[in-house]
């Protein structure tokens, strides 16, 4: 890529270059810099100059170095072979980089995102002569044992005649598999690879209403603060409050078809952890390895800052591509704050006027644009697919009033606030039941009614109400001690405390507890509410609270999340039976 010189370096200030003698550079054009061929992107053009962002460490770049244009916006390669791969922020496969440069990442390397030598089993689903249109599926490829890759007509060809399509067989992604005749009579050859500029959303036919929850297997989320498929959520929290663990858990257990996990400016070992663990974990729904549906993007905190800014877009573009094939994709970005800080750093080096806390004035626009790429869509092909975004936010000092948290809150409809106090007392996930909210409750109620006994909405309200009451009662206790409260009120505290340990807490490291099916969640909540009803009745009859909380069945309830496996849910029914019976028994003694 040294054909077209678009200019020469004038100034190097870290990852931001000023390039002079600009001839015909394009905005957002991908460029290569100097003899080392470092990757960069044009972000500003003015007065014969360009500002270029470098996606690799800028050491050694020198005034006078040539800048070569690629004639193309910074794009990703979309083709079979993405799944199961780990990429850097600009879609270079890290395994390949390791083969080339060993344990430490060298600069100036370039690799295809997918293996161009690999043969795929290709099965056409349309015949030559068909009129095809943008987004239409023309063939399928078994990408992994779990994901069927659907080869679609690239969005730029609105309508065309498929003049040729190769028969079923093995092909590489570079081989021509079809030929289109465009309306103007031109022939267009098609391979299995598409390129798409990362900063431009892929087109869809229309947005649909959100109706299904993204079932995560985390009780506090599914039962209390559900996320809808196609929805957006922010997880803000100080360090160590559980952002990454929550995202990992969702990536592992949620019912999306495809996961795109972006480690954006976070720890190297966390990506290693995912790489090591996911292949060994088995999806409870399909019985297949979790890596078979996962794409990873790693721009760890010590990797170049500008690639961090790009990594978010690289990820969402791949997510949209699978959505276009009719899949439900969940994308996790850990952490969007690092992305915003990358924006800030680059903006600072470009000497732009800062707005709040040094962030550029366009921060809210960028955040909005990112979250707007989520949605439940009617694809161009007529199929439905969704992209759900789960974004971690890392507020400085854990203070949610800072700009990134505040602006993010404006553009997401679900909020899982992590609480430092809960985390330090090892209440995990430390999602606060007081600060968090979900605007998807109404959207997903019908789904819950169709998929469980219809008690979800009502029972959720009841327990939330108790939790609110608890706050007021706790305030009284803090002033005068628990003895001042009557047993009827102390029992509310008791039930809430049980609900927290038995239901809200969920240990991500426990084989049984880490994933909780919707059925189990419904039963667990029901038995806890039954405890409240029955216990309250008994207390009203004069039974002292201590007698009730010491019951064997209550102890069993406290541990049911750990002891009752997914396929033995009748054990919860039995606990409930024993509980009701033993409360009735004590009640009987006091009645007379």
């Amino acid at each position: 890529m040294k054909e077209r010189i678009i200019g020469r370096v004038k100034r190097v200030n870290g990852p931001v270059l000023i390039v002079k003698d600009i001839t015909n550079a394009m905005m957002m054009e991908m460029v290569r810099i100097g003899e080392q061929q470092l990757v960069g992107e044009v972000v500003k053009l003015y007065d014969g100059l360009a500002t270029v962002q470098v996606y690799e460490d800028a050491t050694g770049i020198c005034p006078g170095d040539n800048v070569y244009g690629s004639g193309m916006s910074l794009s990703v390669e979309l083709a079979p072979g993405l799944i199961g791969t780990i990429y850097d922020g600009i879609q270079r496969p890290l395994e390949k980089l390791m083969e080339a440069s060993g344990a430490f990442i060298s600069r100036g390397l370039s690799y295809d995102a997918v293996d161009h030598g690999k043969q795929w089993e290709f099965t056409p689903v349309v015949e030559a002569g068909t009129i095809v249109y943008a987004g239409m599926v023309i063939a399928t490829v078994e990408e992994t044992s779990r994901v069927q890759h659907r080869i679609i007509i690239p969005p730029q060809y609105q309508e065309a005649t498929l003049s040729e399509i190769v028969p079923a067989g093995s092909y590489t992604v570079d081989e021509v598999i079809a030929t289109l005749v465009l309306p103007d009579g031109k022939q267009q050859k098609i391979t299995m690879v598409q390129k798409w500029p990362i900063r431009i959303p892929r087109p869809v036919a229309s947005r649909l209403a959100l109706k299904q929850p993204l079932v995560t297997g985390l009780r506090v989320i599914d039962t209390l603060f559900p996320l809808a498929k196609g929805g957006t959520v922010a997880i803000p929290g100080g360090f160590g409050t559980g952002k990454t663990m929550t995202q990992h858990s969702i990536a592992q257990w949620c019912d999306a078809d495809i996961i795109v996990y972006i480690g954006c400016g976070e720890r190297g070992n966390e990506m290693t952890d995912v790489l090591r663990e996911f292949p060994l974990l088995v999806d409870p729904r399909t019985g297949q390895s979790l890596m078979e549906r996962t794409i990873l993007i790693a721009n760890t905190s010590n990797m170049p800052v500008s690639a961090r800014e790009a990594s978010i877009y690289t990820g969402i573009t791949m997510a949209e591509y699978y959505r276009d094939q009719g899949y439900h994709v969940a994308i996790m970005a850990d952490s969007t704050s690092r992305w915003a800080e990358a924006l800030r750093e680059l903006s600072g080096r470009m000497e732009e006027m800062p707005a709040e806390e040094g962030f550029p004035a366009y921060l809210p626009t960028r955040i909005a644009q990112f979250y707007e790429r989520a949605g439940f869509m009617r694809n161009l092909s007529g199929s439905d697919g969704s992209v759900s975004i789960i974004g971690a936010v890392s507020p400085p000092g854990g203070d949610f009033s800072e700009p990134v948290t505040q602006h993010t809150k404006r553009f997401v409809r679900c909020f899982w606030g992590l609480d430092r106090q809960l985390a330090s007392s090892r209440h995990y996930p430390a999602i606060s039941w007081l600060d968090s909210y979900s605007e998807y409750l109404g959207d997903v109620t019908q789904w819950w009614n169709d998929h469980s006994d219809g008690s979800w909405y009502e029972n959720r309200l009841r327990i939330m109400d108790l939790l609110q009451k608890e706050v007021r009662l706790q305030q009284i206790v803090k002033l005068v001690g628990p003895d001042a409260l009557p047993d009827t009120q102390n029992f509310i505290l008791e039930v809430c405390s049980l609900f927290k340990t038995a239901f809200l807490q969920q240990n991500a490291f426990d084989e049984v507890d880490r994933f909780c099916s919707v059925e189990k969640q419904v039963k667990m909540l029901a038995v806890i509410l039954a405890y409240y009803e029955k216990g309250m009745e008994a207390i009203n009859k004069g039974v002292p609270m201590v007698k009730i909380r010491r019951l064997r069945a209550v102890q069993e309830m406290a541990r049911m999340r750990l002891t009752v496996k997914g396929d033995e849910l009748d054990k919860i029914d039995k606990i409930q039976l024993r509980l009701e019976r033993s409360i009735d028994q004590i009640g009987g003694i006091y009645e007379n």
Partner: protein, 473 residues
């Protein structure tokens, strides 16, 4: 591929020109020197600065353009003059010649001898700024390091290859603790080739002496490389010291297969020096005047730890930082906590109550603990036991608050039991001697002794079997 002759010529010109000396700076501002009319100089290049009296200092290019090159001088700009300052641009990045012979030596922040025993010979040149480790090449750390300190081993277990900072405050016992860890740390069942790299940034001479003495007393001094940039050394030197130290650590761990413990103190001084440079350059600051890139900058230090697949060595980092005003939300501890794999948090109140080490385990955390403890590593009851101790101890804090309002006598019997548990936990489990080296079994048994103060129904994080086996024995 078409090559561009002009640019090739420029490249070879540059190679010829590198090493050529320019004289006369256009501006000197704090640690920064501005030089005009040079040949094109690469970003990040190593610079040799020649003082008016002919002495040599090291610097690095911070900003380069057609018109002017900005160089930061690591040994400070004292006594430089505009006309008398010379500069040679070396045409290569800042590297450090490293070797095992640096063990047992005392050096300055740039790796030059400061112990008077002659020049330091290095063989391998390594990039001081480091190169990111490919996440696919990392090996997830999981080997338990027994420090012999109960609250660490039991509650915030240190793992070989981890970066685990100590968040402390002025006047607290962090140096004692770091020295004790350095003395006692071992991976049980392996006779690893162990060594220490010590980096001091802006600390006082007696702190440096304390560590040297402590290493000497325990007979490990020959296995320690000390990089000292003390309180009266130029502040700018602190910005390179941890990087120099880690460059050696990487050589020892990944070329020589050693288990390296890197102690860095005090990271707050390092950050302050960065802030100084940022302000000097008129950069837009973020919180408390610290530069917006502080996070990435710290990450470039802290991420230089861990293990690499196929290599036997490891780098374990134990950075020490003082929290200004004991404020954990101050940018330095805050950003550190976002990067490191946990934190050990000191509490002034505990030290006042005579507890050593004064670690509050509730805000403390070891993120790598989960894979390094339990059956076959420490003991099978360890994960649940630690969980239970955390849960119960956090309830103690609530009870203490309540007791301070309504009085201890008014507490329920159960809450009084919690107070007793809390007392035992702090005074017997956490508290220990400077020289007391407890085995992990002793630590866990002490944990069970503490739980013995509570009725067994309260122990919901433990399984019935674990309670049957250990409770009340």
């Amino acid at each position: 591929m078409k090559t561009n002759t002009e640019s090739l010529m420029a490249q070879s010109d540059r190679r010829l020109l590198s090493g050529r000396e320019y004289r006369g700076a256009s501006r000197i501002d704090g640690p920064l020197v501005y030089m005009r009319n040079t040949h094109p100089v690469g970003f990040g290049e190593l610079v040799e600065v020649v003082t008016p009296d002919g002495a040599r200092r090291s610097g690095q290019v911070l900003d380069t353009s057609d018109e002017v090159v900005v160089v930061q001088v690591f040994e400070g700009t004292d006594s430089l003059t505009l006309p008398g300052t010379g500069m040679r641009f070396m045409g290569e990045p800042l590297t450090l010649p490293v070797s095992e012979q640096m063990l047992g030596r005392v050096m300055n922040g740039l790796g030059k001898s400061r112990d008077g025993s002659g020049t330091i010979h290095g063989f391998a040149e390594r990039d001081v700024n480091g190169v990111p480790i490919n996440p696919t090449a990392r090996e997830y750390p999981r080997d338990f390091i027994q420090t012999g300190i109960s609250v660490i081993d039991g509650m915030t277990t240190l793992i070989q290859g981890q970066k685990l900072p100590i968040f402390s405050g002025n006047g607290l016992d962090h140096n004692q603790l770091a020295a004790q860890i350095a003395r006692q740390a071992k991976v049980r069942g392996s006779e690893g080739d162990f060594c220490i790299v010590f980096a001091a940034m802006g600390v006082k001479h007696d702190v440096a002496r304390f560590f040297t003495n402590s290493f000497e007393e325990s007979g490990v001094l020959d296995n320690v490389a000390l990089f000292l940039s003390l309180a009266d050394d130029p502040s700018i030197e602190r910005t390179i010291t941890p990087k120099t130290a880690l460059t050696l650590a990487e050589h020892l761990a990944f070329d020589k297969g050693k288990q390296v413990l890197v102690i860095m103190t005090d990271m707050t001084n390092y950050c302050e020096s960065l802030r100084e440079i940022g302000t000097m350059r008129g950069e837009i600051p973020s919180r408390k005047g610290y530069p917006g890139y502080l996070y990435s900058n710290l990450a470039e230090i802290y991420e230089r730890s861990g293990k690499i697949t196929g290599k036997s060595g490891s780098i374990t980092q134990l950075p020490i930082l003082s929290m200004p005003n004991d404020d954990i939300s101050h940018p330095v501890p805050d950003l550190t906590g976002y990067i490191t794999e946990g934190q050990i948090v000191f509490e002034r109140g505990m030290q006042a109550r005579g507890i050593y080490p004064p670690i509050n385990c509730l805000p403390s955390l070891s993120r790598l603990m989960k894979d390094g403890i339990g059956e076959g590593m420490t003991r099978e009851d360890h994960p649940h036991l630690a969980n239970q101790l955390f849960a119960s101890y956090s309830h103690v804090k609530d009870v203490q608050n309540l007791a301070s309002v309504i009085g201890e006598e008014e507490l329920t019997t159960l809450d009084q039991q919690y107070l007793e548990f809390g007392n035992f936990f702090e005074k017997r489990f956490v508290n220990q001697g400077f020289d007391e080296d407890r085995s992990i079994e002793q630590t866990l048994d002490l944990g069970w002794d503490a739980l013995g103060k509570l009725p067994s129904e309260e122990l919901q994080r433990l399984s019935d079997e674990e309670i049957a086996e250990h409770y009340g024995r």
